[in-house]
Subunit: 303 residues, 2 copies
């Protein structure tokens, strides 16, 4: 017998047809996704024209992605999904740890390895700052040889990936901590910027009359064998957008200030940003990366 499909029974019809999915986790995720998507459509009584606008929008987001740009991550970021995934991840941590923040769409996996004290600035002008601190475990003990990956935008608010030749790297690097987990390096005093507004996500942000800015920040990915990888960022206190980040990345505990007269600076007479990162223990090295290098998602170069 043909089942009668109406606006209610369609949901069970769809999840029934997916009920033979061999992977139990995929089965659970898809059933939940279908139920919530359908509930959304029923709640707003979505029309065919509105549905088609959604199809067009998602298609445009996909077609905007290239090996150097990830518009779907930007969409996730601006809908608060990425911050939510980070918060769920932090909740699963065993033991105290620094809060996660957004990886964003400008991470890349092949940043150059540098020595402690080196500068990540290769060509961009701006105010130099010494970033330093310690990578510690849940009990406050230094983690020897932890790997610190760092990247930040230039003074105009653009990452190297957004420049004319996105294969050239600037303002990113990897550092191996010393035997006590200490790190220090030179970089630019962090800058805020507007998210990329020339794609469909920018159209959405404008239609929502949002300002599109992120407060000044610098990104970190920190890992060590036996610890949970930490993906986070530090935000500069006093930024005009510190309370209205377009991608919801700011937490109180990640807000730092520049110290212009730091007697403990590892580099004499340089302003400092000091922060100790705390990692929770975990068997797996990488488990918390909400994002990826665009080139690892999109192999084809688009328009």
């Amino acid at each position: 017998m043909t089942k009668t499909i109406n606006e209610i029974t369609i949901t069970e019809a769809a999840t029934d047809q997916m009920s033979g999915t061999p992977d139990p986790r995929l089965r659970k995720i898809m059933a939940s996704l279908v139920r919530h998507l359908h509930e959304f459509a029923r709640e707003v009584d979505l029309t065919a024209d509105e549905w088609l606008e959604g199809i067009k929008f998602l298609t445009a987001v996909g077609q905007k992605c290239t090996a150097h740009r990830q518009e779907f991550i930007l969409l996730s970021d601006t809908l608060g999904m990425s911050a939510l995934i980070n918060a769920l991840h932090d909740k699963r941590a065993v033991g105290a740890a620094t809060k996660s923040s957004l990886l964003g769409p400008f991470y890349r996996h092949d940043a150059p390895m540098m020595k402690l004290g080196d500068s990540i600035i290769s060509k961009s002008p701006g105010t130099e700052v010494c970033f330093y601190g310690q990578v510690i475990d849940s009990n406050g003990k230094g983690i020897p040889n932890a790997l610190v990956q760092v990247w930040e935008p230039d003074e105009t608010g653009n990452y190297d990936l957004q420049k004319h030749d996105p294969s050239e790297m600037d303002l990113r690097g990897c550092f191996k901590c010393d035997a006590e987990g200490r790190y220090y390096f030179r970089g630019l005093c962090p800058t805020g910027y507007m998210i990329p507004m020339d794609g469909p996500v920018g159209d959405m942000i404008r239609a929502q009359k949002r300002h599109g800015y992120r407060p000044a920040h610098i990104h970190f990915v920190i890992g060590a064998p036996g610890y949970r990888e930490l993906v986070t960022a530090l935000y500069v206190a006093g930024d005009a957008h510190i309370d209205s980040d377009t991608v919801f990345g700011v937490s109180d505990s990640l807000v730092i200030s520049v110290n212009k007269n730091d007697a403990k600076s590892p580099i004499a007479k340089m302003p400092t940003i000091h922060y100790d990162f705390q990692l929770a223990a975990d068997k797996a090295w990488t488990s918390g990366r909400v994002g990826a290098d665009p080139s690892q998602i999109t192999s084809k170069i688009g328009a």
Copy 2:
């Protein structure tokens, strides 16, 4: 003051930031979408790796779209979203009307205008059938000069858009009904087929161990000034997949049988498929099209 964002407060933070959206309908839709998306992520405690799989999947769906292929419509179809939008649309009709069914990803807006009795078959072999009936209003009265657009796959289950040269048209046409709303034309006896399985949606269908078939059917878009456009399809009784359509398009009232000995056939000695389509009154000519010609969504030709 910086707000503390956690896995619960992120939802209100996101909808708050969208609360200045000038268009009240967009504001409502986005707030509902964000709430349901977040609820989904919380319900399954979505991990960063799973989120990234989702980003990769959506990116691949977008990049598979071309002027001749709409993978996001296919995704909507296979998740039951398109059938749900149709059901919501039918519920809003004023007066009796034929049920909607999926437009699918193979409609095109520029099918040739033909005369009643013409054949839509230009090159494909197969069993010829005479399709005939009447386009009527909610009271059963014929609608003069209603426009009937029709398209169907060939005997191998492929539409013209899926062929080597997708600009060549076959098995589609437009007919103007007579003064009593009657139509008739020649076409192929409908065939079932597997949805396109060579893209990310096909990967999903395989991972869910679904068969991927649609039961034999033929598509219709029917309109007339002063009536609600009807997007529907007729399904052949007895098809092996009539109860398990991969895109949930079948309703009891849309199931028809081929009559091999129809004394009323407008074309002598030809098997017939007879169906009367009922349109609800509406000021707007087009209002129910859950879909569009791929070329109207994606201007750029992809890989």
